[in-house]
């Protein structure tokens, strides 16, 4: 996966060519992030308390990048619009913030496109239309980030994003269709060979098979199997789920079960 290749290796000289506005597609993001680290250092973020490393002159830049590389998770992209540079103040702040970042080691989630507790759809435009795939990617990243680094929930900055604003066909195209393709492929392969074998064994042709009850049962089993058992683990999972559905019932009925056995054994 491209994101896994996230390594802050690109040379700092490419900094100047960097634009802060993020590219909508996922491909560019993985390359952008390491570049954003130095840009983080150039700009200044308003609230140092968030633990985001604020700006520093280029001298400090290398060291910061060094520190960042050592940390397990790199900082996310810069959030605030860069204010007017104030090198001295930011220098002090950077040192303080760097210390805090080391000490706290829980940087808050920040992203330029995450505005006011939701994704700013205007920033996800591709060819004049919203790039929903990128919205999905961004939300996945946000949730993954928060899963690994839980944050305090704040009433002042509430999270308002609702996944239902993403249109249904995005979900279908991205998640349902590839899976459906695989499953249909499996079903077709199984169907073809089963039809062939049944024909070779019994002489019943394809058209006649579709009218035969036993063959229709086989077809049903094949389809159900393809739908339910997609990975090897699914067989165990299904057994567990089946047991789970009745486990609680069994626990409640335990006191009634023993009523029969105990009364049968001792004469009341």
């Amino acid at each position: 996966m491209l994101m896994a290749s996230l390594s802050p290796s690109p040379p700092p000289t490419s900094l100047s060519a960097l634009s802060l506005k993020s590219h909508p597609s996922l491909r560019f993001q993985s390359i952008l992030f390491p570049r954003k680290l130095p840009s983080l250092l150039l700009s200044r973020s308003a609230d140092n308390g968030a633990g985001v490393v604020s700006s520093a002159p280029t001298v400090v830049q290398e060291e910061e990048k060094e520190k960042k590389n050592e940390e397990e998770t790199p900082s996310p992209a810069v959030a605030e619009v860069p204010k007017a540079e104030d090198e001295q103040k930011s220098n002090l702040a950077a040192n303080g913030a760097a210390v805090k970042a080391e000490a706290a080691a829980v940087p808050k989630f920040k992203d330029t496109r995450w505005v006011g507790g939701t994704w700013d759809l205007k920033q996800f435009k591709k060819n004049g239309e919203t790039d929903w795939d990128a919205v999905v990617d961004a939300e996945v990243r946000r949730r993954k980030w928060l899963q690994d680094n839980p944050e305090a929930s704040s009433d002042d900055e509430p999270v308002l994003f609702d996944t239902s604003i993403i249109p249904w066909w995005t979900w279908v195209k991205r998640f349902h269709l590839p899976e459906a393709e695989i499953l249909n492929g499996r079903a077709a392969m199984v169907g073809f060979f089963m039809a062939y074998f049944v024909d070779s064994l019994t002489g019943v042709g394809l058209v006649d098979q579709t009218g035969n009850f036993f063959c229709k049962t086989l077809l049903f089993i094949a389809v159900a199997g393809v739908l339910l058992i997609r990975k090897n683990e699914d067989i165990d999972n299904l057994k567990k789920i089946l047991e789970e559905t009745t486990f609680y019932d069994k626990q409640w009925q335990a006191t009634w079960q023993e009523d029969q056995t105990s009364s049968a054994s001792k004469e009341k």
Binding site: S153, A254, W256, Q257
Partner: protein, 472 residues
């Protein structure tokens, strides 16, 4: 009785029979047990085993209620009101049981609780997902609807007081064990340490002979041990009481919060509940009890901004049963409340069911003994089990399903919180919680709800799978 033999031969561990089936077996058995009665004269389906039980000569039925919490208090009151001689044994009369302390409206009505018992009325609840999506539920509540937050010491003392007023004798003592009766009509001997007024000392060893025992002594019930009721899985709920500055307390004036997420608990939720003048911040878990401190730290982190500057005034933990014990009745000993394991899944609600089960058990005893004039037997107490199971099984099952579906993973929790934003869901949730009834809504709305639920789950799980592929 051919049917009986077939059922006993199939035995336990078999496929689930419906409750109706099992209860029918019980009826057949109990009618068989009351063998000296004429079956022909009875009304079909109504078994009055007490008709066959001997009349008590010159004395009333004596019942000991062990444990003076909501279950014990309610049981003792109903017994005393029904004319049964009752003793209520409680080991610590001023016990501040660590507890969420939330009671539904129906409890206030059914038990006639005075409104000044309730410290706070929670009308707003905030559910917060793992990615901090926060949803306010409570929009659909009427002006007179709320979740009552009580202090357990206040509630318990009140219920015990009512039991005493009805004629029960409240004893400050620690139940030790009980001896099974010698013969079928014999009495139980209970051993307990009675503490003298003013406390101090180990107490005096005492014994009492009673006809029946109601075990209402909580999750670590000794009565349950005495009858070999079996074990259950339990959750550990860990809670810190935090006194926060007045300005922050304002936020929690009528609001409770629920945090869900793997960081906060793998199978439960973290909470911030307002109490009289402080908040209780806590979490719980069944499967990862050793990590409870970690989960508590995570809960504190999630609520950090809102409880900053607070001081911890108390730390407490208590076990919460996950499901009923395998055996809830043996002979003339019955378990009620937490001792029986009547805590719902998903929400972990126990106070109402404890009090209700205590009352139901007591009422069954009163009825079976015809107001304390006859001896009872196990079948009378089983009637309480039957009634309780039948009345509340749907509630328990639905909450179990909710827990299984929505507490599975972070993705499922996100879907859960998303669903809670829907007005229909809120209305159904509160209706079922506050009044313990499910009013069937418009089938079209139900269908929409089903579609939305599936949609939320599908979306959240799709995102979840993408998250797994991602390594930040």
């Amino acid at each position: 009785m051919a049917s009986l033999s077939t059922t006993t031969s199939t035995g336990t561990g078999d496929s689930i029979r419906s409750f109706a089936d099992l209860r029918r077996q019980t009826r057949l058995l109990s009618s068989r047990a009351a063998s000296n009665a004429q079956l022909g004269r009875r009304l079909p389906g109504v078994v009055r085993a007490s008709r066959s039980s001997p009349r008590l000569n010159g004395r009333k039925l004596r019942v000991a209620v062990v444990g003076g919490g909501p279950a014990g208090g309610a049981a003792a009151e109903a017994l005393a009101k029904g004319g049964v001689e009752t003793i209520l044994i409680e080991r610590k009369l001023d016990n501040c049981k660590p507890c969420g302390g939330a009671i539904p409206l129906c409890m206030v009505d059914e038990f006639g609780l005075p409104l000044d018992l309730i410290d706070r009325r929670v009308t707003k609840m905030k559910m917060i997902s793992p990615s901090n999506v926060a949803v306010d539920i409570g929009r659909t509540l009427g002006p007179h609807e709320y979740i009552g937050m009580v202090r357990r010491e206040v509630l318990d003392a009140y219920l015990r007081g009512r039991a005493a007023d009805a004629g029960a004798s409240v004893i400050n003592g620690l139940f030790l064990r009980l001896d099974q009766p010698e013969g079928p009509g014999g009495s139980y001997k209970i051993h307990y340490n009675e503490y003298s007024a003013g406390g101090g000392g180990a107490g005096e060893r005492r014994t009492e002979e009673v006809d029946a025992v109601v075990g209402a002594d909580g999750a670590n019930s000794r009565v349950a041990k005495s009858i070999g009721a079996g074990e259950y899985e339990y959750a550990i709920a860990f809670q810190e009481r935090v006194r926060i500055p007045e300005a922050k307390m304002e936020y929690y004036k009528e609001r409770a919060e629920m945090y869900v997420g793997d960081d906060v608990s793998p199978d439960f939720y973290g909470w911030v509940f307002p109490k009289c003048d402080h908040v209780a911040v806590g979490t719980g878990t069944v499967t990862h009890k050793t990590d409870i401190k970690k989960f508590q730290a995570a809960t504190r982190l999630r609520a950090k901004d809102k409880i900053e500057g607070g001081t911890i005034i108390r730390v407490e933990a208590h076990p919460i049963p996950e499901h009923p014990r395998p055996r809830r009745v043996l002979g003339r000993v019955a378990l009620v409340g937490d001792a029986a394991g009547y805590v719902t899944k998903c929400s972990g609600e126990g106070i109402y069911f404890a009090a209700k089960s205590g009352r139901m058990c007591a009422e069954a005893i009163v009825e079976g003994s015809e107001n304390g004039t006859r001896m009872i037997d196990e079948s009378d107490i089983r009637k309480y089990l039957e009634k309780f199971d039948k009345m509340y099984w749907p509630t328990y099952k639905v909450l179990d399903i909710l827990q299984k579906v929505f507490y599975r993973s972070n993705a499922a929790r996100e879907a859960f919180v998303e669903m809670c934003a829907d007005d229909y869901v809120q209305k159904m949730t509160f209706d079922s919680y506050l009044y313990k009834r499910v009013v069937p809504g418009n089938p079209l709305d139900d269908l929409k709800l089903a579609v939305n639920t599936i949609g939320s789950l599908v979306r959240a799980n799709a995102l979840g799978r993408e998250m797994d592929k991602l390594t930040l």
